[in-house]
Protein backbone atom coordinates (compact mmCIF):
# COMPACT_ATOMS: atom_id res chain seq x y z
CA UNK A 1 0.00 0.00 0.00
CA UNK A 2 1.33 3.43 -0.89
CA UNK A 3 2.39 5.66 1.96
CA UNK A 4 0.07 8.38 0.60
CA UNK A 5 -2.99 6.33 1.59
CA UNK A 6 -2.95 7.45 5.19
CA UNK A 7 -6.42 7.53 6.71
CA UNK A 8 -6.95 11.06 7.99
CA UNK A 9 -10.73 10.91 8.20
CA UNK A 10 -11.28 8.15 10.78
CA UNK A 11 -9.00 9.76 13.43
CA UNK A 12 -10.86 13.06 12.99
CA UNK A 13 -14.20 11.43 13.85
CA UNK A 14 -12.60 9.62 16.80
CA UNK A 15 -11.32 13.02 17.93
CA UNK A 16 -14.80 14.53 17.70
CA UNK A 17 -16.15 11.48 19.55
CA UNK A 18 -13.65 12.06 22.34
CA UNK A 19 -14.16 15.83 22.57
CA UNK A 20 -17.93 15.31 22.48
CA UNK A 21 -17.60 12.65 25.17
CA UNK A 22 -16.00 15.16 27.54
CA UNK A 23 -18.54 17.87 26.74
CA UNK A 24 -21.47 15.49 27.23
CA UNK A 25 -20.01 13.98 30.42
CA UNK A 26 -19.34 17.32 32.13
CA UNK A 27 -22.13 19.56 30.81
CA UNK A 28 -25.16 17.48 29.79
CA UNK A 29 -26.54 16.16 33.13
CA UNK A 30 -26.81 19.61 34.73
CA UNK A 31 -28.42 20.99 31.57
CA UNK A 32 -31.01 18.19 31.40
CA UNK A 33 -31.83 18.74 35.06
CA UNK A 34 -32.22 22.52 34.75
CA UNK A 35 -33.92 22.48 31.35
CA UNK A 36 -36.29 19.52 31.75
CA UNK A 37 -36.84 18.58 35.37
CA UNK A 38 -36.10 21.48 37.75
CA UNK A 39 -39.47 23.21 37.21
CA UNK A 40 -41.45 19.96 37.47
CA UNK A 41 -39.67 19.17 40.75
CA UNK A 42 -40.46 22.70 42.06
CA UNK A 43 -36.76 23.63 42.21
CA UNK A 44 -37.15 26.70 39.98
CA UNK A 45 -40.18 29.02 39.65
CA UNK A 46 -42.39 29.32 36.55
CA UNK A 47 -40.96 32.77 35.73
CA UNK A 48 -37.64 31.14 34.87
CA UNK A 49 -39.03 28.62 32.38
CA UNK A 50 -41.91 30.46 30.67
CA UNK A 51 -41.43 32.29 27.36
CA UNK A 52 -39.95 35.48 28.83
CA UNK A 53 -37.72 33.52 31.19
CA UNK A 54 -36.42 31.34 28.35
CA UNK A 55 -35.65 34.46 26.28
CA UNK A 56 -33.83 36.03 29.25
CA UNK A 57 -31.87 32.79 29.66
CA UNK A 58 -30.69 32.59 26.06
CA UNK A 59 -29.90 36.32 26.09
CA UNK A 60 -27.59 35.55 29.02
CA UNK A 61 -29.13 37.95 31.54
CA UNK A 62 -28.06 36.02 34.70
CA UNK A 63 -24.47 35.67 33.43
CA UNK A 64 -24.32 39.32 32.33
CA UNK A 65 -25.51 40.48 35.75
CA UNK A 66 -23.03 38.23 37.54
CA UNK A 67 -20.00 39.07 35.40
CA UNK A 68 -20.41 42.83 35.87
CA UNK A 69 -19.16 45.66 33.67
CA UNK A 70 -15.83 44.29 32.49
CA UNK A 71 -16.90 40.77 31.45
CA UNK A 72 -20.61 41.39 30.96
CA UNK A 73 -20.37 41.17 27.15
CA UNK A 74 -19.47 37.48 27.61
CA UNK A 75 -22.88 36.88 29.20
CA UNK A 76 -24.77 37.00 25.91
CA UNK A 77 -22.39 34.52 24.31
CA UNK A 78 -22.25 31.91 27.06
CA UNK A 79 -25.73 30.30 26.74
CA UNK A 80 -25.43 30.12 22.94
CA UNK A 81 -21.95 28.57 23.02
CA UNK A 82 -23.20 26.20 25.72
CA UNK A 83 -26.10 25.05 23.51
CA UNK A 84 -23.85 24.57 20.46
CA UNK A 85 -21.33 22.57 22.53
CA UNK A 86 -24.02 20.31 23.97
CA UNK A 87 -25.91 19.72 20.72
CA UNK A 88 -22.85 19.43 18.45
CA UNK A 89 -20.81 17.43 20.97
CA UNK A 90 -23.77 15.18 21.77
CA UNK A 91 -24.50 14.46 18.11
CA UNK A 92 -20.91 13.75 17.02
CA UNK A 93 -20.24 11.69 20.15
CA UNK A 94 -23.55 9.84 20.23
CA UNK A 95 -23.86 9.05 16.52
CA UNK A 96 -20.25 7.84 16.36
CA UNK A 97 -20.95 5.44 19.22
CA UNK A 98 -24.30 4.47 17.71
CA UNK A 99 -22.48 3.67 14.45
CA UNK A 100 -20.51 0.95 16.20
CA UNK A 101 -23.71 -0.36 17.81
CA UNK A 102 -25.12 -0.74 14.30
CA UNK A 103 -21.85 -2.39 13.12
CA UNK A 104 -22.17 -4.82 16.04
CA UNK A 105 -25.62 -5.95 14.97
CA UNK A 106 -24.31 -6.76 11.49
CA UNK A 107 -24.52 -3.49 9.54
CA UNK A 108 -20.73 -3.17 9.13
CA UNK A 109 -21.25 -4.21 5.53
CA UNK A 110 -23.23 -1.00 4.97
CA UNK A 111 -20.33 1.20 6.16
CA UNK A 112 -20.18 3.19 2.90
CA UNK A 113 -23.84 4.20 3.24
CA UNK A 114 -24.07 4.40 7.01
CA UNK A 115 -21.07 6.66 7.70
CA UNK A 116 -22.10 9.60 5.48
CA UNK A 117 -25.70 9.41 6.77
CA UNK A 118 -24.76 9.42 10.47
CA UNK A 119 -21.99 12.04 10.25
CA UNK A 120 -24.22 14.05 7.89
CA UNK A 121 -26.98 14.11 10.52
CA UNK A 122 -24.43 15.19 13.16
CA UNK A 123 -23.08 17.98 10.94
CA UNK A 124 -26.58 19.19 9.95
CA UNK A 125 -27.73 19.20 13.58
CA UNK A 126 -24.66 21.17 14.64
CA UNK A 127 -25.23 23.77 11.89
CA UNK A 128 -28.90 24.01 12.93
CA UNK A 129 -27.80 24.55 16.55
CA UNK A 130 -25.43 27.38 15.56
CA UNK A 131 -28.05 29.08 13.35
CA UNK A 132 -30.90 28.72 15.87
CA UNK A 133 -28.91 29.65 18.99
CA UNK A 134 -27.32 32.74 17.44
CA UNK A 135 -30.59 33.89 15.86
CA UNK A 136 -31.57 35.17 19.32
CA UNK A 137 -30.35 38.61 20.40
Amino acid sequence: MAAAEVDRVTPMFWGLFSAGGFVVAFLLPVFIFMNSLAYGLHVVPWEKVEYGGALRWIRGDPATALLGNTLGWLGGWLPKLFLVLIIGGGLFHGLHRFKYVLYDVGLHRAKKVLDPILYGIAAAGTVAAVVLAFSFP
Binding site: G21, I32, L37, L66, G94
Partner: protein, 134 residues
Protein backbone atom coordinates in the same frame (compact mmCIF):
# COMPACT_ATOMS: atom_id res chain seq x y z
CA UNK B 1 -6.42 -33.58 -11.22
CA UNK B 2 -6.78 -31.60 -8.02
CA UNK B 3 -9.38 -32.65 -5.52
CA UNK B 4 -12.03 -30.04 -5.12
CA UNK B 5 -12.44 -28.95 -1.53
CA UNK B 6 -15.64 -27.53 -0.16
CA UNK B 7 -15.24 -24.71 2.32
CA UNK B 8 -17.37 -25.23 5.37
CA UNK B 9 -16.73 -22.44 7.87
CA UNK B 10 -17.81 -22.86 11.45
CA UNK B 11 -20.25 -20.14 12.43
CA UNK B 12 -20.57 -19.83 16.15
CA UNK B 13 -24.15 -19.50 17.33
CA UNK B 14 -24.83 -16.48 19.50
CA UNK B 15 -28.10 -15.55 21.12
CA UNK B 16 -29.31 -11.97 20.74
CA UNK B 17 -29.33 -11.89 24.54
CA UNK B 18 -25.65 -12.82 24.99
CA UNK B 19 -25.02 -9.63 26.95
CA UNK B 20 -27.47 -10.57 29.73
CA UNK B 21 -25.18 -13.40 30.85
CA UNK B 22 -22.61 -11.16 32.54
CA UNK B 23 -23.19 -7.91 34.49
CA UNK B 24 -20.16 -6.37 32.74
CA UNK B 25 -21.77 -6.94 29.35
CA UNK B 26 -25.05 -5.47 30.63
CA UNK B 27 -23.20 -2.32 31.71
CA UNK B 28 -21.44 -2.21 28.32
CA UNK B 29 -24.73 -2.40 26.40
CA UNK B 30 -26.37 0.23 28.61
CA UNK B 31 -23.38 2.54 28.15
CA UNK B 32 -23.55 2.12 24.38
CA UNK B 33 -27.32 2.64 24.55
CA UNK B 34 -26.76 5.97 26.34
CA UNK B 35 -25.61 7.37 22.98
CA UNK B 36 -29.17 7.02 21.63
CA UNK B 37 -30.55 9.11 24.49
CA UNK B 38 -27.85 11.77 24.13
CA UNK B 39 -28.71 12.12 20.42
CA UNK B 40 -32.44 12.16 21.21
CA UNK B 41 -31.93 14.96 23.72
CA UNK B 42 -29.91 17.01 21.21
CA UNK B 43 -32.89 16.86 18.82
CA UNK B 44 -35.38 17.68 21.60
CA UNK B 45 -33.38 20.84 22.40
CA UNK B 46 -33.31 21.80 18.71
CA UNK B 47 -37.10 21.41 18.73
CA UNK B 48 -37.28 23.56 21.86
CA UNK B 49 -35.19 26.30 20.22
CA UNK B 50 -37.41 26.13 17.15
CA UNK B 51 -40.51 26.54 19.34
CA UNK B 52 -38.89 29.47 21.16
CA UNK B 53 -38.20 31.12 17.79
CA UNK B 54 -41.89 30.65 16.97
CA UNK B 55 -43.01 33.19 19.57
CA UNK B 56 -44.88 32.98 22.86
CA UNK B 57 -47.89 30.87 21.70
CA UNK B 58 -45.66 28.25 20.07
CA UNK B 59 -43.45 28.13 23.14
CA UNK B 60 -46.33 27.75 25.59
CA UNK B 61 -47.65 24.84 23.51
CA UNK B 62 -44.16 23.35 23.68
CA UNK B 63 -44.01 23.81 27.47
CA UNK B 64 -47.38 22.07 27.98
CA UNK B 65 -45.92 19.05 26.15
CA UNK B 66 -42.49 19.42 27.84
CA UNK B 67 -43.91 19.28 31.38
CA UNK B 68 -46.49 16.57 30.72
CA UNK B 69 -46.04 13.38 32.74
CA UNK B 70 -44.83 11.12 29.88
CA UNK B 71 -42.30 13.75 28.79
CA UNK B 72 -41.06 14.26 32.36
CA UNK B 73 -40.63 10.48 32.62
CA UNK B 74 -38.72 10.35 29.33
CA UNK B 75 -36.50 13.23 30.41
CA UNK B 76 -35.81 11.49 33.74
CA UNK B 77 -34.72 8.37 31.79
CA UNK B 78 -32.52 10.54 29.53
CA UNK B 79 -30.93 12.12 32.63
CA UNK B 80 -30.25 8.67 34.12
CA UNK B 81 -28.49 7.59 30.91
CA UNK B 82 -26.55 10.88 30.78
CA UNK B 83 -25.29 10.29 34.33
CA UNK B 84 -24.36 6.70 33.41
CA UNK B 85 -22.41 8.13 30.46
CA UNK B 86 -20.61 10.66 32.72
CA UNK B 87 -19.58 8.08 35.29
CA UNK B 88 -18.44 5.50 32.72
CA UNK B 89 -16.59 8.22 30.79
CA UNK B 90 -14.68 9.25 33.92
CA UNK B 91 -13.79 5.60 34.52
CA UNK B 92 -12.60 5.39 30.91
CA UNK B 93 -10.36 8.46 31.15
CA UNK B 94 -8.57 6.73 34.04
CA UNK B 95 -7.35 4.14 31.50
CA UNK B 96 -5.58 6.84 29.45
CA UNK B 97 -2.95 8.36 31.76
CA UNK B 98 -2.06 11.88 30.63
CA UNK B 99 0.74 12.26 33.17
CA UNK B 100 2.82 10.15 35.50
CA UNK B 101 3.55 10.38 39.21
CA UNK B 102 7.08 9.16 40.00
CA UNK B 103 7.15 7.32 36.68
CA UNK B 104 3.84 5.53 37.25
CA UNK B 105 0.38 6.35 35.90
CA UNK B 106 -1.87 7.99 38.51
CA UNK B 107 -4.12 5.51 40.38
CA UNK B 108 -7.56 5.08 38.77
CA UNK B 109 -9.34 6.10 41.97
CA UNK B 110 -7.50 9.45 41.94
CA UNK B 111 -8.39 10.18 38.29
CA UNK B 112 -12.05 9.19 38.74
CA UNK B 113 -12.28 11.15 42.01
CA UNK B 114 -10.79 14.26 40.41
CA UNK B 115 -13.18 13.98 37.44
CA UNK B 116 -16.18 13.63 39.78
CA UNK B 117 -15.05 16.66 41.79
CA UNK B 118 -14.61 18.78 38.62
CA UNK B 119 -18.02 17.56 37.36
CA UNK B 120 -19.83 18.60 40.54
CA UNK B 121 -18.00 21.96 40.72
CA UNK B 122 -18.66 22.70 37.03
CA UNK B 123 -22.35 21.77 37.37
CA UNK B 124 -22.77 24.13 40.34
CA UNK B 125 -20.91 26.87 38.44
CA UNK B 126 -23.27 26.46 35.46
CA UNK B 127 -26.34 26.67 37.72
CA UNK B 128 -24.94 29.86 39.26
CA UNK B 129 -23.59 31.48 36.09
CA UNK B 130 -26.16 30.58 33.42
CA UNK B 131 -29.27 30.21 35.57
CA UNK B 132 -28.56 32.72 38.36
CA UNK B 133 -28.97 29.96 40.95
CA UNK B 134 -32.14 28.01 41.69
Amino acid sequence: MAVETVRKPYVRQRSAWWWTKNPRYVLFQFRELSSVFVVLYAFLVLWQLWALRGGSDAYYAFLVMWYSRPMMALNAVILAFAILHSVTWFALTAKVPLFRIKGRPPPAALVIGANLAIWVALSLLIVKLLYGGF
